[in-house]
């Protein structure tokens, strides 16, 4: 599942800008009006971004985040060549994680 999170992290003058694109349907719960059948929601709940073991950003998401979600943020204290770890957990307990190099 490594490729299910794509990351571009670039460092300029000490500020690292991170852009991530995650592969996930981010489904809202749906109830069929005719049959009453409920399709349960399926979405990423928590995204954790860590640098040197420290969480730089933790995102709590609901199903209202778009499918194949995008996330961008900026943080200080890293340098080119450092590693950034991004992982997510969804409401079904599935998870994914990737280590990206800061360029």
């Amino acid at each position: 599942m490594a490729k299910s999170i794509k990351v571009r992290a670039s460092n300029k003058k000490g500020l690292t800008t991170v852009k991530a694109l995650m592969s996930h349907p981010m489904k809202v719960e749906k109830k069929d009006k005719k049959t009453g059948k409920v399709t349960p929601a399926h979405f990423i709940q928590t995204v954790t971004c860590e640098h040197n073991g420290k969480a730089v950003l933790t995102a709590e998401w609901g199903a209202a985040i778009s499918a194949n979600p995008y996330l961008s943020f900026k943080f200080n204290g890293a340098k080119v060549g450092d590693s950034l770890k991004i992982s997510w957990v969804d409401n079904k307990g599935e998870n994914a994680s990737v280590d990206a190099k800061i360029k």
Partner: protein
Amino acid sequence: MKKLAAIFTAVVMLTSPFVVNASPQQDLKDFRAFFKNKFPATPMNDFINGVYSIHKASREQWEAFEEFPSYEIYVDKGEALFNDTKFKNGKGFKDCFPKGQQGIKGTYPYFSAKSGKVVTLEGDINKCITSNGSEKWGWKKGKMAYLSAYLAYQTRGQTINVNTPKGEAAVAAYNRGKAHFYAKRGQLNMSCADCHYYYSGNKIRADILSPALGHVSHFPVYRNKWAKKSGDGMGTLHRRYGGCNKQVRARPFKAQSAEYSALEYFHTYMSNGLKWNGPGQRK
């Protein structure tokens, strides 16, 4: 008023497209001139960005997407498909496309004098699959769209260069596509040209009509609309043709039918000289 007069003259002059005997080269010249006249502020090659080349607010949203476009997920899938797919007889795509993935898309569509048909990229992808013993892929989405997206990505920046239709059969195919483009159809009695030629740049309810010049350059396309159900918005050109026909309440043709292949032939030739920039992200 001056602009209106210029457009009117251009339209009158260009009703000559209905004269089937006009040459493809002349059609191409007239086509480009029409759009250059209609959208004078748009640099010629920017037409490959469709609506975003002619409407600022839409462009800003599109640029927000281009920071990390959703189709990148599917380009990756396409890459894996190209490199790793093994057919029933053990062969792979590299056996059909020995020169590698670079620039493949730029060689399509073309008219094959041998088979008497327009050959499309998707057509050859399935030909590769079936001739090696495996079951063909769907034409409109899924694996076909992902592989096509990867190949389109590898061709980015190259110039669209469909060979000028020569010979009776090729010109006939070209004219079939051209006729489809200008013919009214469906309950709404509209032609492709109504929206994408004469009224391009105008609004249809809340949508802005994209100019046909540069249309095919960014296919296959990731449509946010197609992504609504499952997150997978990737689709091929013929998928869009079918959708468009349905939207004027005309019965769509089958993807990769002779009709749509002819349309693709005409449609792509009309963008000769612009650059391939697929896959694209659209609403």
